[in-house]
């Protein structure tokens, strides 16, 4: 009997429980289900906004610093100095990190939202509370739906916005980089290190903290400024960085002349054997160049005080006809600023002792020959045997002409193959072949046909055994000019044998700013390679 009563009681109890549940569902859960969903969706959307937008600011979101520029977020650094230690631009790296953090935190929040469900799955609790559980489940679903839809929309918006910004900013950077490069190329802007003679179109610039930025062009590190590791700004592009930072040699790290990399850079090495007349030609030519620049309202000034002193002394010596022999130890570089109106240039001339051009191995150390773009080869007519035989009649003549110790082609043959082997683009290099000591030569019958015009000089050289030199020069170089010069008398731009002639020709081809010639002197090239 008690079993039957127990069974009846149990049936009654279960029925009552089910009825209560049904009533709860019908009268409490069902009427509020709609509101539950509405509230859940709105809550989810708000939550997603808060979680996603706060993710980049979270303390555990990675920060890409100046030390991460070689890290996995960036393509491999260029060879050489690598990427500068500057803060990467937000759009170039940090943006991706931040989007990742948003997605990660969003997922994490959803997981946290659903994790209490694990506790509710306890079977006994469910047995008692499943109608309430259904309500909670409904709310959770609604929150999740609102959060997911909002989260995906926000992420899509953020990714699109950042991608567009990166695209626009990247294009702006490339444009600025191209314009800067084109302007500098048009000006033939470059930097030549006066210490190691390295030539570069991209000098480094040191931040106040001491870090040298080796590539200030717009890049992933910033379009308008690069932010140094120390936080200080470094303006991008060579011209803007150069305004308030001293340029540095990328090779030896020495401080370069102001304007290096921005101004036109003209480098003119002068080759020739011992006693050919290189030093004389350089000082006479520079002085004549200075006179023409000044006459046209411009300037030509040695860059450093020591150079100015040397320039004055050199000019004095050449005028007095007693030039000191150049020491074989150290080639002398002389840097001058040339200005004309708003155009400015740095003019480097290099004078090495003739011994350094006597053998190929000696020329290998002459770094200033690399990428010169322009060269002068000095031809001493008195070192041409048939000329010397006819003109130099005794020790007195010898003493006055001080003929070069080697015939003209020696320096050429010791130097040019070395240049070619070192990869110099001779097909883009101009060569001025300068016959010097004209004052001593022109009155002799052997020089009857010799006039200071390119074709006449060229023909005279060919007629007097120098045809090999002429052929080689015209084969090797982009353009060859021929000049007849007296370094002792040609001080004025309009002198018949002015030392300015070769420099003026090279200057015009190398974009050195010069006022137009005052006289109708024929200056020009012949023998462009056929």
């Amino acid at each position: 009997m008690p079993q039957v009563a127990l069974a009846v009681l149990a049936v009654l109890g279960i029925t009552a429980y089910l009825g209560l549940c049904a009533a709860f569902l019908w009268f409490v859960v069902w009427p509020f289900a709609g509101w539950l969903v509405l509230v859940g969706v709105v809550l989810g959307a708000l939550g997603a906004l808060v979680v996603l937008l706060s993710a980049p600011f979270a303390a555990d979101t990675d920060l890409l610093t100046a030390d991460d520029v070689d890290g996995p977020w960036f393509p491999p650094a260029p060879p050489g100095h690598g990427r500068d230690r500057a803060w990467p631009h937000y759009l170039a790296g940090q943006a991706r990190v931040d989007v990742g953090a948003m997605a990660r935190r969003g997922r994490g929040a959803l997981g946290a939202l659903w994790s209490p469900l694990g506790g509710l799955l306890n079977p006994r609790a469910w047995l008692a509370l499943w109608p309430l559980g259904i309500a909670g489940f409904l709310l959770l679903l609604a929150v999740t739906a609102g959060a997911v839809v909002t989260g995906v929309a926000v992420l899509a918006l953020v990714v699109t916005g950042l991608a567009l910004a990166a695209l626009v900013w990247g294009a702006a950077g490339r444009l600025l980089r191209t314009v800067d490069a084109l302007l500098r190329r048009r000006n033939r802007a470059a930097a030549r290190c006066p210490y190691c003679f390295w030539r570069t179109t991209l000098p480094g610039y040191a931040c106040a903290c001491g870090l040298v930025h080796h590539d200030v062009r717009p890049s992933r590190l910033g379009v308008l400024v690069h932010r140094c590791r120390c936080g200080r700004p470094m303006p991008t592009t060579v011209s803007r960085a150069g305004r308030d930072h001293a340029p540095r040699c990328p090779q030896c790290d020495e401080v370069l002349e102001d304007g290096s990399g921005v101004w036109t850079d003209v480098s003119i090495p002068v080759l020739g054997p011992v006693s050919a007349g290189k030093t004389s030609l350089i000082y006479a030519g520079l002085e004549a160049l200075r006179r023409q620049a000044v006459a046209g309202g411009g300037t030509l000034e040695p860059r450093r005080e020591a150079d100015a002193e040397r320039f004055r002394e050199g000019v004095e010596q050449v005028r007095a006809g007693r030039v000191a022999k150049t020491e074989a130890a150290a080639p002398v570089g002389l840097v001058c600023t040339v200005t004309q109106g708003r155009r400015r240039a740095l003019l480097h001339t290099f004078d090495a002792a003739g011994e350094l051009f006597s053998t190929r191995s000696a020329t290998e150390d002459l770094r200033f020959l690399d990428e010169a773009g322009q060269m002068i080869v000095v031809v001493d007519p008195f070192s041409i045997p048939e000329v010397a035989d006819e003109v130099l009649r005794g020790p007195a003549d010898e003493a006055e002409a001080a003929p070069a110790v080697d015939p003209p082609e020696v320096a050429y043959e010791a130097t040019v193959p070395r240049l070619r082997d070192f990869g110099a683009r001779l097909d883009r290099t101009d060569l001025a072949v300068v016959v010097v000591k004209a004052d001593l030569l022109v009155d002799h019958p052997i020089a009857a046909d010799l006039r200071p015009d390119p074709l006449a000089v060229r023909r005279w050289l060919c007629d007097h055994g120098q045809d090999q030199l002429v052929v080689a020069a015209e084969r090797d170089f982009a353009a060859v000019g021929y000049f007849l010069v007296s370094s002792h008398t040609g001080w004025e731009p309009e002198d018949r044998h002015t030392a300015l002639a070769p420099l003026r020709w090279l200057a015009e081809r190398g974009r050195l700013p010069l006022p137009p010639a005052r006289t109708a002197l024929t200056v020009g090239a012949v023998g462009e390679p056929a």
Binding site: W30, F32, L53, L91, V158, R227
Partner: protein, 52 residues
């Protein structure tokens, strides 16, 4: 870890402003009349149930 520098914070703030702006514009420009009209029968049903 050092705090992010100003330029990073500025970009992040700009990002937040951008998203909030878009949300505001979306809320402002949303066709509320249509939404309300579409929801009306449903809300009506809810109301009737509540006062049942």
């Amino acid at each position: 870890m050092s705090p992010p520098p100003a330029h990073v914070r500025a970009f992040r703030a700009a990002l937040v402003v951008l998203v909030l702006l878009v949300v505001l514009v979306a809320l402002w420009q949303a066709p509320w009349d249509g939404i309300v009209a579409a929801l009306d029968p449903w809300v009506d049903g809810l109301r009737r149930q509540v006062y049942l």
